[in-house]
C-alpha cells in the first residue's frame, strides 16, 4: 500500500473533523419527525454505510440507521395529485429504501402513481418524475413511458445538474453498490461540466453531490474534487451545517448539510 503523504493525512483529518461537525448539525436539523426529515435521515445514513464505512463504524451509526429505517414504516405511500413534489419524493424515497434494504412496505397504487407522475410533468417538475420512475423500475415496478435518457436537457440548469448527480446516485442505489465500469458512457465529461456550472452559480448542494460522484468514479485526487470540497468547507457554519443560499429559501438546509456530510466523510477515506 502506498505511503500516505502528510498532506493527504492532514486533508483526511480535516475532512473527518468537518464530517463529524456536519453529522452533529444534521442530527439536529432532522430531529423533527416530518416525512421529509425521516426520509432524508435514512437516506444519508444509508449512503454513509456504503460510501464511508469507516466513518459509519467510528460514529456508531448502525443503530441510528436501523431506527431511521423503522421510522419510515408509518410513512404513507399515498400520492395524491396535488402532493408537493418534495413530499412525494420523500414518500417514494422511504418506500424505495425500505425495499432496497429488505423491509416489507406497501407499494404505491399503480394507477395513482401514473397520475402523480403526469401531474409532476404538468407542474414543471420533470426531474422528480424521472427520479421516481428510475427508482420504480429499479425495484421492478413498471411505469409507462420511462426513458433512462434525460429528455429535458437545456430546460433548467439546476435540473440538468441534479440529473447528472442522480445518474450516479441511482445507478449505485444510493452508494450501496459500486458503479460498474462502462455503465454510464461519457459520465466523467458530464460530471466535470456540471462541476464548472455548480461552482460558477454557487450551487453548494449540487457541489456536495458532485463531490460524492467524483469519489464514486475514483476521482478523489482530481482538482475538481479539491475545488468542490474547499467550497463546501468555506460554506460550513459554526454549528457544522452547510448552507446553500440558492436553496435556503426552500428550507433545504438539512439536505445540503446531509449531502456535505457524505462528501466530507467519503473524501476523508484513505486514498
Amino acid at each position: 500500500m502506498p505511503r500516505q503523504s502528510n498532506d493527504a493525512k492532514t486533508d483526511g483529518h480535516r475532512l473527518a473533523f468537518a464530517a463529524k461537525r456536519c453529522l452533529d448539525a444534521f442530527l439536529l436539523l432532522t430531529s423533527t419527525s416530518s416525512e421529509e426529515n425521516s426520509s432524508l435521515r435514512a437516506l444519508v445514513f444509508h449512503m454513509l454505510e456504503g460510501h464511508a464505512p469507516g466513518f459509519f463504524r467510528r460514529c456508531s451509526l448502525a443503530t441510528l440507521l436501523n431506527s431511521a429505517m423503522k421510522g419510515l414504516q408509518p410513512l404513507s405511500i399515498e400520492l395524491p395529485e396535488n402532493l408537493p413534489a418534495d413530499d412525494g419524493m420523500a414518500r417514494i424515497d422511504a418506500w424505495y429504501l425500505r425495499r432496497l434494504r429488505g423491509y416489507p412496505h406497501p407499494d404505491p397504487d399503480p394507477a395513482c402513481l401514473e397520475r402523480y407522475l403526469r401531474s409532476l410533468e404538468a407542474r414543471g417538475e420533470p426531474l422528480h418524475g424521472w427520479i421516481i420512475q428510475w427508482m420504480c423500475q429499479d425495484v421492478g415496478v413498471r411505469t409507462a413511458n420511462f426513458n433512462r435518457e434525460w429528455e429535458h436537457r437545456g430546460g433548467s440548469l439546476i435540473h440538468d445538474l441534479y440529473w447528472v448527480t442522480h445518474l450516479v446516485l441511482l445507478e449505485t442505489r444510493y452508494l450501496s453498490r459500486p458503479l460498474k465500469p462502462g455503465t454510464l458512457p461519457r459520465l466523467e465529461e458530464e460530471l466535470f461540466r456540471a462541476c464548472h456550472y455548480a461552482r460558477a452559480r454557487r450551487h453548494i448542494d449540487v457541489a456536495a453531490e458532485l463531490a460524492i460522484c467524483l469519489q464514486v468514479v475514483g476521482r478523489r485526487n482530481h482538482r475538481w474534487h479539491t475545488i468542490l470540497i474547499d467550497e463546501l468547507l468555506e460554506h460550513q457554519k459554526h454549528d457544522g451545517s452547510v448552507m446553500d443560499n440558492s436553496l435556503e429559501a426552500r428550507g433545504l438546509r438539512a439536505h445540503c448539510t446531509g449531502a456535505s456530510l457524505v462528501a466530507f466523510a467519503g473524501g476523508a477515506r484513505e486514498p
Binding site: 434494504r101 429488505g102 416489507p104 407499494d107 429499479d138 459500486p178
Partner: protein
C-alpha cells in the same frame, strides 16, 4: 415421533482447519480451493480471526505460481489486501477471487437444497452460509438459508434471511413469496398481504408461478383486502387461498437466473 439426529457427513468429518491449510503446499491449497463443497462448508465455520488468516493466503498464486514454495512476500500480502478491500466494497466477490464460476456455485446450491430436503438442516445451513461468504448477494443462498431456518422453527432468523434476499435483489419475485409464507405462518396478515401485492406488481401478467399464486390469493381475498383489520375467519380464507395457490408451485424448482444473476421470467 422424535426426529433422529442425522449422521455428520463425510465432508464435515474431514474438515480441515485454517492452520492446516496454511501449512499445505500451494498445489494442495489449489486442490482444496477448487473443492467448493468443502470450502463452502469450511468457510462458514470460521471465526473472524480465522478469516483474517485466510485473507493472508496467497490466493493469486493458486493459478500457477512461479515459485510454489516461496514464502509470502509483502507484495503478495499487499495484493491480497487490495483484493480483500475490493471484496469488502462489493466490487468483486470471494467467489471471483477464488475462481468459482456460476455452475459451481449453483451446483453447491443444489447440494444445499438437497440436504435441506433430506432434513439435514445443519449441513444445509453451512452450505448456505458458505455460499453467502463467497457471494454475499446470492439470492438463492439467502433463500436456502431462510428455508432451513424456517424448517428449524427459527422464524426470526429466517425472516432476517428473507429480508436479506429481498435486499440483495428487490426484483427477485421468489424472495417475496417465501417471506409472505413466513409472515402467514407468523400470523402477520398485514405484511403477508403487502408481499403478495408486491409480487402481483412485479409480475402483473402472472408469468411466474409466484405471480399466478399471488393473483389467485388476491382474487380469492379481494373483499377481505378492502378491510383494515382481518378476523380469524378472514385469515383462514386467505390461508385456504394460499394453500390452493401453493399447489401450483413446484417447490423443488431451482430458480433460473441469467448471466447477470437476475431471475428469468418466462
Amino acid at each position: 415421533m422424535a426426529e433422529t439426529q442425522p449422521e455428520p457427513s463425510q465432508e464435515q468429518a474431514d474438515l480441515i482447519t485454517p492452520e492446516e491449510i496454511e501449512n499445505m503446499s500451494p498445489e494442495d491449497q489449489k486442490k482444496l480451493a477448487y473443492n467448493i463443497e468443502q470450502t463452502a462448508v469450511m468457510l462458514s465455520e470460521l471465526t473472524e480471526e480465522e478469516v483474517e488468516k485466510l485473507q493472508a493466503m496467497p490466493w493469486e498464486k493458486l493459478d500457477g505460481p512461479a515459485e510454489p514454495d516461496a514464502p509470502l512476500t509483502d507484495e503478495d500480502k499487499a495484493a491480497y489486501r487490495e483484493m480483500w478491500d475490493l471484496v469488502q466494497d462489493g466490487t468483486t466477490t470471494m467467489a471471483e477471487v477464488l475462481g468459482y464460476d456460476e455452475d459451481e456455485i449453483m451446483k453447491t446450491y443444489s447440494v444445499g437444497a438437497a440436504l435441506s430436503d433430506q432434513g439435514r438442516y445443519d449441513d444445509a445451513l453451512k452450505i448456505a452460509e458458505g455460499l453467502l461468504f463467497l457471494m454475499p448477494k446470492l439470492v438463492p443462498g439467502h433463500l436456502l438459508k431462510g428455508e432451513v431456518l424456517r424448517k428449524q422453527g427459527r422464524l426470526e432468523e429466517a425472516l432476517e434471511a428473507y429480508n436479506a434476499a429481498v435486499s440483495a435483489d428487490p426484483t427477485y419475485i421468489q424472495s417475496y413469496f417465501e417471506r409472505a409464507k413466513l409472515f402467514f405462518r407468523a400470523e402477520s396478515g398485514q405484511y403477508f398481504l403487502m408481499d403478495i401485492q408486491t409480487i402481483a406488481n412485479l409480475d402483473p401478467e402472472a408469468k411466474t408461478p409466484f405471480g399466478k399464486a399471488a393473483q389467485k390469493i388476491l382474487e380469492a381475498t379481494a373483499e377481505e383486502l378492502k378491510k383494515d383489520g382481518l378476523s380469524d375467519e378472514e385469515l383462514e380464507a386467505i390461508g385456504d387461498a394460499l394453500d390452493d395457490a401453493m399447489l401450483d408451485i413446484d417447490e423443488d424448482t431451482i430458480p433460473e437466473i441469467d448471466e447477470d444473476g437476475n431471475q428469468i421470467i418466462k
